[in-house]
């Protein structure tokens, strides 16, 4: 009996071996997705590692830049493009390793909830950022840049740096999905742009394009709701209360100074004042002077940095009022502080935004 039990366990252990050596090679491991419109459907660019000799033989996958290739597939739905890729390559498409999803701005009016549903079914990690780009997403993914090939990691790095430095809003799949679940809300989605640098030499080893996030699109469940610049995106981060560090260039006195803001603590409260909601935002933090022109005093820098924060908030507030969409969590604030008023709005906070006032205070201390 004992021998039989041991044999059974040994057999079960053999089943636990999982992949045989070659199984990885029967899969296409996708690292970035670029989605473009094509007629009534889509053209999707799948950035994948092409593999190498060692991986063909069961060794580790060669993930160096030289092995990055972009495969194109067309279909009426995203699922159909994936199926098309599967049929053309004879391999399973594995999406669990996707690092970034880039959508062409030509699709800004398309139903993003459909895309989100597909991302969930395709088993893409919830923490992956979704961004838009100007022009073709496929071109962007396959671009040669100053920094090197536009690999998923590089693109992801550019987007995450902009988000970490509070110059754009985070746009993870889970965040967009949750935003759409709260009625009337809009997601602020960064736009990844290629910019031409003027005056470069014609040396073939130097490319004249760089990559960055300089603007964002406001997207609701019903589609496009507006676009905003970098200042307004920074203001939205402040009004949302989720900014933590920023680098600013401020005009202080007769000169210019570069300051780094850290440990920003933002308190938000809302009350009903004269029948209209009044949003109070108090920003506190510390600053460090990175560089300053001669003759600029500490007091002038501190004042200028505080004024700059107020300016950014004003930009964000203006974007909020002009779009009429709640992308700063106004509905949730009202539900917390003014429940009766929130209930009367019945989930639609367009009227509340129309009558909204804001009062912002900023106080910075030297690091």
């Amino acid at each position: 009996m004992k021998k039989l039990t041991i044999l059974l366990f040994a057999f079960a252990a053999m089943l636990l071996c999982g992949c045989e050596a070659g199984e990885v090679q029967r899969r296409i491991v996708v690292h970035a997705l670029g989605i473009d419109p094509l007629g009534d459907g889509y053209e999707v660019s799948y950035q994948v590692f092409s593999g190498g000799t060692s991986s063909e033989q069961g060794g580790p996958v060669d993930a160096s830049e030289s092995t990055v290739v972009t495969l194109l597939a067309q279909g009426r739905t995203l699922y159909e493009t994936e199926e098309s890729l599967r049929l053309r390559t004879g391999k399973e498409v594995f999406m669990g390793d996707v690092e970034l999803i880039v959508i062409s701005d030509e699709l800004k009016d398309a139903d993003l909830t459909e895309f989100l549903r597909y991302f969930r079914i395709a088993d893409i990690y919830l923490g992956v950022n979704v961004v838009y780009c100007r022009g073709s997403a496929g071109d962007l993914i396959g671009q040669k840049l100053n920094q090197g090939s536009a690999t998923a990691l590089l693109l992801k790095g550019v987007v995450e740096t902009a988000i970490d430095r509070d110059r754009a809003c985070s746009s993870r799949i889970i965040e967009i999905s949750n935003t759409f679940s709260d009625g009337g809300s809009a997601a602020v989605i960064p736009v990844l742009s290629l910019e031409k640098e003027g005056g470069k030499s014609e040396d073939s080893t130097v490319t004249d394009v760089t990559l960055g996030v300089f603007e964002s699109l406001l997207i609701t469940k019903d589609g496009f709701a507006g676009e905003i610049g970098e200042d307004a995106a920074m203001g939205i981060r402040l009004l949302r209360g989720d900014a933590s560090e920023m680098s600013l260039e401020v005009e202080a006195g007769e000169g210019i100074a570069a300051v780094e803001l850290k440990n920003l603590k933002i308190k938000r409260k809302i009350s009903i004042d004269g029948g209209a909601p009044l949003l109070k935002v108090a920003i506190e933090g510390i600053y460090d002077v990175r560089s300053a022109q001669e003759g600029v005093s500490e007091d002038e820098i501190s004042d200028a940095a505080e004024k700059q924060l107020l300016y950014l908030c004003a930009q964000g507030f203006e974007a909020l009022k002009s779009s009429g969409k709640d992308f700063i969590g106004l509905g949730k604030l009202l539900e917390k502080y003014e429940q009766g008023y929130a209930l009367r709005q019945n989930g639609d906070f367009g009227g509340a935004i129309e009558g909204l006032w804001a009062s912002v205070e900023a106080k910075l201390k030297k690091y």
Partner: protein, 347 residues
Amino acid sequence: MRSDKKISAGQLMLMLFLARIMHTMIFKASHSASGAAMMLGLLCSTAVEAVLAIPAVWYFSAGGSDPVKEISGKYSSAVRFLYSAYFAVIAGGTVALFAEFLASEFSKVTPPIVAALLLMLAAAYCACLGIEGLARAATVVFWMFAVLFGLMAAVNEGGFDLLNLRPFSPEDSGSFWDYFTESLSSGWWLPMFCVLAVHLRKGAVKAAYGYLALKFVTLETLLLLVTIVLWRYVDVIGYPIFALGAYAKTDFIERFDAINMLIWAINCTLVLGIYLYICSGSFKRPKPAALLFAAAAAAFGIVEYKNGLRFDQPWFLGFKLAGVALLGVVLPSAAAVKLLIKRSAAK
């Protein structure tokens, strides 16, 4: 029923906890509710369970050995069969929900029915090992679960949005009552306690109230994380603990899905083993009885799964609540009263 005292209060507490957490693992959220309403529902249902547990806990603390024998005398076999039948249905429901979970999250791996049959076979083997084996395994599985849960919570990539934790409002009362009823109907630990405490060396109070405290803290933590980190996305994924893992990663663990699956499968086997042990423990030949109940529970579970019957449907809620009330509260209350009368007469 074998009545030798073999397990400690801590072991019993962990067995009850794993059975409850199994239910949470495979419970699919079918509707949105505000976090505050659910958290309040859990608080109230736990308070009610604490009161309902008094008769059974008092009976064992006062030196009672077996409430079924106490109350039914020579008809105890018939009453024990009620327990067996109740837990066979609970085991069947667990298998059905686990199969549904497999079908929805791991559709490409193993056919759910095959997995359910294999799990039931393994569970029957576990049941045959006896209460000591099950209790020791429960300690190991509990720590596996605790480490996984702690790790998923610690490395979760979501930010905390405290605004999601909006105050309880009259609009939330419907969600509150739904969650309260669902939580209370998952209180089959009371009948489990009545059967398994027979093997308890000492510490009935510690086992029962330790379980309630552990369950309360774990589930409130889960509800809090779901509310302030994951928010409505739990409705999309469906399984709260699975959703917690779906938004967590470390440098060396890219995805928690496979680890979740492994620990859930192990826990499911153990918990089914405990149910089958309860089903078969009162029979003269427990091993063939365990296999028989395993077959019955698997058949019931597969029929339930194939026909889309759910644990949270009204008839099932009623069945579970009736079992909790009759086998977990009324019967031990009667046994406690009889013991009290016997003691008074002896004095």
